[in-house]
């Protein structure tokens, strides 16, 4: 069987997670993930064609609530916790360019 994950896929997945791996990390992770993914193959032995996926916790029921505005008790506190701000705005780098 071919390897389930290689360096190229690993780099792609890390990029999706906005993580840059150094060479040591890459080497170790590649080995770990190959072992873990090989272990997952166990599941392929089970026939699940007629099984419905269980998508959440135990109660598979949608929860509704009234769509009403609730005032947050202390918005200034949230603003104070911004890592960087200008006036009362959260400061971020330019999104384009």
């Amino acid at each position: 069987m071919t390897a389930l994950i290689d360096k190229k896929i690993l780099e792609y997945l890390a990029d999706l997670g906005r993580i840059k791996l150094n060479e040591n990390e890459e080497e170790k992770l590649l080995k770990d993930l190959q072992n873990i993914l090989a272990y997952f193959q166990e599941l392929q032995k089970l026939d699940t064609t007629k099984v419905e996926p269980l998508t959440g916790g135990t109660i598979e029921k949608n929860v509704f609530r009234e769509d009403k505005i609730r005032k947050y008790e202390n918005p200034q506190k949230l603003i104070e916790s911004f890592p960087e701000k200008e006036n009362n705005f959260l400061k971020i780098p330019p999104v384009f360019g």
Partner: protein
């Protein structure tokens, strides 16, 4: 004062009889922590000002002749992935090193309303990802009964604090065994409530379809007191529900307990096997009947869990982008590109295990792999849940060991993630099925039906009063 054996019940009695004040005891706890925690490392941070003001309020209420709650003045430890307003909360990750909570988690609000005293925040595996508390970005917690060994994880700091007498009880969180396994490794009681029984509002999320907050305590009775205080429906957590009322027909002498054959296999340590056999004999003396059952999909649980959990964790952890919550001060907005902030903050902020799970989560959710991994795991999850549903048609409660092995040495498994994952083999199925489970000495777990915590707690209390406390 013997802090090590102090329970909620006898603390309350002493306080009401004015044998001590809440402030005196709180100060004694901080003295003990100062002397002892240097070698155990259970706490990441103490919340002294908060604790002392809470204790003084209890003393004032008592002096005014007010009636006080059972939890009033009781010194507790809180896992550092549960938010306490105005206190730093890191989830033991560098990425949240500077994050200060702007609100109380619902469980904290409830504890504050009950006038409990919060001593500090306890160590954990980063973002609750691990089984040994070695994955903390800040320190390694040691098992109080053998400092060379791990306390278990991820709620290892909470378990060690309770075991060493540095808190009367504690809160932890359990996604795949993170309350029960450390409780077991440290010799204390741990309860993982039914999925939905306790609000997770203000818990730093790992895997949202599995996470539950629950108590760690010295006795089952104390665990029950804490559980009764923190449970209930919360508007702010849509998955929470009101627990059913107590099943008053339940009697331990009419109880049938299932023993799943898949949990008593060759990998089980002989010493644990012998202890469990002793527990079964003791429970038989109390009138419990035992029946062999089968949970045939148990062997698939670890693989199923390590697909679903990273998928959810990688999604939950996307929010730590360096723009919100906390940022390493060396990364400035000025002259940075948005992507640089993301990459710098996340590459430096997350530890090895967290990166591993984010990448694993991205893998199983990627197009081309989704059906083979994530969807497959969700189907297997249903089969595992149905195993339990079938078993509970025949038995009231299920008894298993908590872990296949005794506490391992610090460093023993840290370089082999798969071996570490497999150490949770007996606790994981319970989370996948959303069930409640109680872990207690010596090394057994009682699994109950959904929202029937009262049954497993009843058996636990009777067992404890008949055997553990008299020992």
């Amino acid at each position: 004062m013997d802090l090590k054996n102090l329970t909620i019940k006898n603390f309350h009695e002493g306080l009401v009889k004015k044998e001590f004040s809440a402030k005196e005891i709180t100060e004694e706890f901080f003295d003990l922590i100062d002397r002892k925690d240097g070698e155990i490392n259970a706490y990441l941070r103490l919340t002294k000002d908060l604790a002392l003001s809470q204790a003084q309020a209890v003393d004032a209420a008592l002096a005014n002749g007010g009636k006080i709650n059972l939890l009033a003045g009781v010194p507790l430890a809180i896992k550092d992935n549960i938010l306490i307003k105005d206190e730093v909360c890191t989830a033991a990750s560098k990425i949240l090193a500077n994050y200060r909570a702007s609100y109380d988690a619902t469980v904290i609000k409830k504890l504050k309303n009950a006038a409990a005293v919060l001593l500090g925040k306890t160590n954990l595996d980063e973002f609750a990802m691990g089984s040994s508390t070695e994955n903390s970005a800040f320190k390694i917690t040691h098992n109080p009964s053998d400092l060379e060994r791990v306390p278990g994880g991820s709620s290892g700091g909470s378990a060690a604090a309770v075991a060493a007498g540095m808190a009367v009880a504690a809160l932890g969180s359990d996604t795949g065994g993170s309350i029960r396994q450390p409780a077991n490794f440290c010799g204390v009681v741990g309860l993982k409530p039914t999925y939905g029984a306790v609000s997770r509002y203000g818990l730093i999320a790992m895997a949202s379809s599995l996470d539950q907050i629950g108590p760690l305590a010295k006795t089952v009775e104390d665990a029950e007191i804490l559980f009764e205080t923190i449970k209930g429906k919360d508007e702010l957590d849509s998955t929470s529900v009101e627990s059913k009322i107590r099943n008053s027909n339940f009697e331990i002498r009419n109880c049938t307990i299932g023993l799943p054959e898949e949990y008593f296999v060759s990998g089980l340590d002989k010493k644990i096997q012998t202890k469990i056999e002793g527990v079964i004999k003791n429970l038989e003396k109390l009138g419990c009947k035992f029946q062999k059952i089968s949970l045939p999909h148990t062997r698939y649980a670890v693989a199923c869990y390590y697909i679903i959990m990273p998928a959810e964790a990688s999604t939950n952890l996307a929010r730590y982008d360096g723009i919100r919550y906390s940022r390493n001060s060396k990364f400035k907005i000025q002259n940075s590109k948005l992507k640089d902030i993301y990459f710098n903050q996340r590459s430096e902020g997350f530890g090895e295990e967290v990166k591993r799970r984010i990448i694993l989560g991205n893998f199983v959710l990627s197009s081309g792999y989704y059906d083979a991994y994530y969807l497959k795991a969700q189907k297997v999850r249903r089969l595992i849940k149905e195993d339990f549903d079938r078993a509970f048609q025949e038995v009231d409660v299920i008894l298993t060991p908590v872990t296949p092995t005794l506490p391992f040495k610090i460093g023993e498994k840290i370089n082999d993630p798969l071996a570490m994952y497999l150490s949770d083999i007996f606790t994981i199925p319970v989370n996948l099925a959303g069930l409640p489970a109680l872990a207690m000495s010596p090394g057994f777990q009682l699994i109950g039906q959904s929202f029937q915590e009262s049954n497993i707690l009843e058996i636990g209390k009777t067992y404890e009063q008949s055997y553990n406390l008299s020992a």
